[in-house]
């Protein structure tokens, strides 16, 4: 049945005799595509972005809860797309800062039929507009949604519009302030906006068996890993691989630090498989990091122009494309599918033993051990220590960070956040040092290979030298900062806070 015939009849009866309902404009149909990053950055910022296609050119509409509304022509943008690829203007500027490296991709799609009606008083004066929208969801699932009614007051007639709204919501089957259209369309597929996060948001209790706690964490990590596979294979943006890689590293850490809590032999069985997976992701990620920081590095050149680096950029991009293709093949392979299937089966098929440590005890032991390792390795580092020692310390820091994240739900949030922040200060320093080393090596290897291929101009090689020098400078700076960063982390007050945190699990 046509919307114009169906909905207003009920509305007409509800509003009579005080107000009359008059069809106003022709019913219009639109295609609505809601866009967000995979990790819902716009939703988290209280924003909704949609691409509306009707009779005219497609339009992008960004709206916020505080009434913010920015529109722009979509200009044939194909999704997924980075915000930087959108037509220049206020909408792109607003989105770029929020989405950063994440691509915008369709979160939901629906066909919309909108009819508008004038709601008139007994003078025949329009006092409000009634909009009736029928949504037929297409993504995440096909479904017809109940009609959505909205009443907009004409200026100066707010009181009458409110009376109309009250009158309509008193009708059976009409719900006031229903779900926003996006949420309603997502609900057809059982999806809640903001559902994805790369955080380990598992609610553990201090007294639950430690094996059950660790299994819950590992299953959550497997969910995250699998959620990021399609985006990594399609190469939608670099964060899919990043999140997938972090899930693998966290899994490896859990298998290493929590091996004793799992059934005998399980950790040793799967550790090589996850090492294979981790190693598989390294070349593409290293090249991603290099390319993501390329523009900033090029801007620092002193004796060369950023344009001189174009051949190097092209070379890195080609290498990345080759590595990405290799990674995508591996993620589509039977070996990978068998690994994740078997791993899920192994985790889901086990019941927790009746005896053994509880989650709080296990967390204290694992975090305490990881913390001691960081303190031990870090204290042994001197100005003369080789880079490998710092690299090793970085790995231990990551293990500690992950252990803190696994059991985060057991601790007082502010105390936990402070411990993570203090560790992060040290990690950032070690991360910069390590990234600089990888990049310098990348520049050296690339220069050699580009030279051997015989198609590199001398200006590019000189610029690469300049770039390597700047990276080296950053590396030395990070190395110089290490002692003070570690001293802050290892200070007696920080250690006391750490001990108090671990001891306070579940309290």
């Amino acid at each position: 049945m046509n919307v114009e015939q169906q909905v207003p009849e009920a509305v007409r009866e509800a509003l009579a005799p005080r107000f009359s309902v008059v069809p106003a404009r022709r019913t219009r149909t639109q295609r609505r595509t809601w866009l967000d990053t995979f990790d819902w950055r716009l939703h988290r910022a209280g924003l909704t972005l949609e691409c509306v296609t009707g009779r005219g050119p497609a339009e992008l509409v960004l709206s916020g809860m505080a009434g913010e509304r920015i529109t722009a022509a979509a200009n044939g943008t194909r999704w997924p797309a980075l915000a930087g690829a959108l037509p220049s203007g206020p909408l792109r500027d607003r989105l770029k800062g929020l989405t950063e490296v994440r691509a915008l991709l369709p979160a939901a799609k629906a066909a919309s039929t909108v009819s508008e009606f004038r709601l008139c008083n007994d003078d025949g004066k329009t006092v409000a507009w009634l909009t009736v929208e029928h949504l037929h969801a297409a993504t995440p699932a096909a479904a017809d949604l109940p009609p959505r009614l909205s009443v907009t007051a004409v200026r100066g007639y707010q009181g009458q519009a409110e009376r109309i709204a009250r009158c309509l919501t008193a009708q059976p089957g009409v719900l006031p302030d229903g779900l926003p259209a996006l949420d309603a369309v997502l609900a057809t597929g059982g999806v809640a906006p903001g559902a994805y996060t790369n955080k380990i948001n598992v609610a553990l209790s201090a007294t639950m068996p430690a094996r059950a706690a660790l299994t819950a964490v590992l299953l959550r990590l497997l969910d995250t890993l699998e959620a990021n596979v399609p985006g990594t294979v399609r190469d939608i943006d670099t964060e899919f691989l990043h999140d997938l890689r972090v899930a693998v590293r966290r899994t490896r850490t859990a298998l290493k630090l929590g091996a004793g809590l799992l059934p005998a032999g399980l950790a040793s069985q799967y550790r090589p498989a996850f090492k294979w997976l981790g190693d598989l992701t390294t070349p593409t990620r290293d090249l991603d990091v290099h390319l993501l920081t390329f523009a900033a590095g090029a801007a620092e050149l002193t004796s060369a122009s950023p344009d001189d680096l174009a051949p190097f950029h092209d070379y890195l991009a080609r290498r990345r494309a080759a590595e990405q293709a290799r990674l995508a093949r591996a993620l589509r392979s039977a070996r990978f599918t068998e690994l994740t299937t078997a791993w899920r089966g192994a985790l889901e098929g086990r019941t927790a033993p009746r005896h053994g440590p509880d989650a709080a005890q296990a967390a204290a032991k694992i975090i305490g051990r990881a913390h001691r390792r960081v303190l031990g390795r870090g204290s042994a580092i001197t100005a003369k220590s080789p880079p490998e020692d710092l690299h090793d310390l970085r790995k231990r820091c990551k293990e500690l960070r992950y252990a803190l994240e696994f059991f985060a739900s057991l601790y007082d949030p502010p105390t936990h956040r402070r411990a993570v922040r203090e560790l992060k200060g040290l990690q950032d320093c070690l991360g910069t040092y390590q990234d600089c080393q990888v990049q310098q090596e990348e520049i050296r290897v690339s220069a050699t290979e580009m030279l051997a291929a015989g198609d590199v101009p001398a200006t590019a090689l000189l610029a690469m030298g300049d770039l390597a020098a700047h990276v080296g400078q950053r590396e030395r700076q990070a190395r110089g900062e290490f002692a003070s960063r570690f001293a802050a982390f290892a200070s007696e007050p920080a250690q006391a806070r750490f001990r108090a945190l671990v001891a306070g699990a579940g309290s």
Binding site: R118, G124, T126, V154, Y157
Partner: protein, 247 residues
């Protein structure tokens, strides 16, 4: 924001019909338009189906105790709002007389609306009064409908003299022949001669048509309910001249 006033010393010459149709055409052109019904007879309010009532009355608005912005109503047409009349507007002269610098009061009250509107039409009551002076001080352009008779032309000259005699701000004036009865030779002659002889008279003349009278039955601008009629086309031509003159 440009302020246009439909004004004449004489009544019943088509001021309100011009204000209503021109403001509708201006909004249809994409301008943000306000029509202020300053006439206590409230004909413009009636034509837009808005009840002629303003909280606090004319005194509240003129003295500033009631915000002008809050008295404004949306019409049924996109981009066109209306400040309704109120029966107390019959005393606006007395209220103005009670304020400091009464002739500049209206201009001061309208100034804050510049952020919301591109054009304001003031639909004025007939006569020469303190309110008329305040309107002329506020307006950029006065639209004066005249019935093509010798007496009407004399009235236009009186108005022009009156404006020339004002201190400070003096609005431009654009008169136009209104309510032309095509059966009357004198009407036709004057309507043709005047624009050729005087630059302050628009080339477009508005004929006396029953469709224009029907506005009070349909309660809408003729440009809205009969956009292809001769009446609507005449107002459209006049709007083109007004828009060019208003800048």
């Amino acid at each position: 924001m440009r302020i246009l006033a439909t004004y004449n010393i004489k009544g019943g010459v088509g001021k309100t019909a011009a204000a209503v149709n021109l403001s509708h055409l201006a909004a249809a052109d994409g301008l943000r338009v306000l029509i202020a019904d300053l006439d206590p007879q409230a004909a413009a309010s009636y034509l837009f189906r808005v009840r002629p009532r303003v909280k606090g009355g004319g005194a509240g608005l003129i003295r500033g105790s009631r915000e002008l912005d809050k008295a404004i109503k949306g019409t049924d047409f996109e981009g066109l709002d209306l400040l309704p009349a109120d029966f107390t507007f019959r005393n606006l002269d007395l209220v103005l007389d009670d304020t400091k610098k009464p002739t500049r009061r209206l201009a001061r009250l309208l100034r804050p609306l510049a952020a919301s509107y591109d054009m304001v039409f003031l639909d004025c009551p007939p006569g020469i009064s303190l309110l008329s002076e305040a309107v002329l001080q506020a307006a950029d352009l006065v639209l004066a409908p005249i019935i093509p008779t010798t007496l009407s032309v004399r009235t236009l000259d009186q108005l022009t003299e009156f404006i020339d005699g004002l201190d400070g701000h003096r609005p431009a004036i654009l008169a136009f022949c209104s309510m032309i009865d095509r059966r009357k030779r004198l009407h036709r002659q004057i309507a043709e001669q005047l624009p050729a002889e005087r630059k302050d008279i628009a080339a477009t003349a508005i004929p006396a048509l029953s469709l224009i009278e029907q506005m009070s039955v349909r309660r809408a601008p003729v440009t809205a309910f009969a956009p292809r009629s001769e009446a609507a086309r005449s107002y459209a031509r006049l709007w083109a001249e007004v828009r060019a003159r208003a800048g």
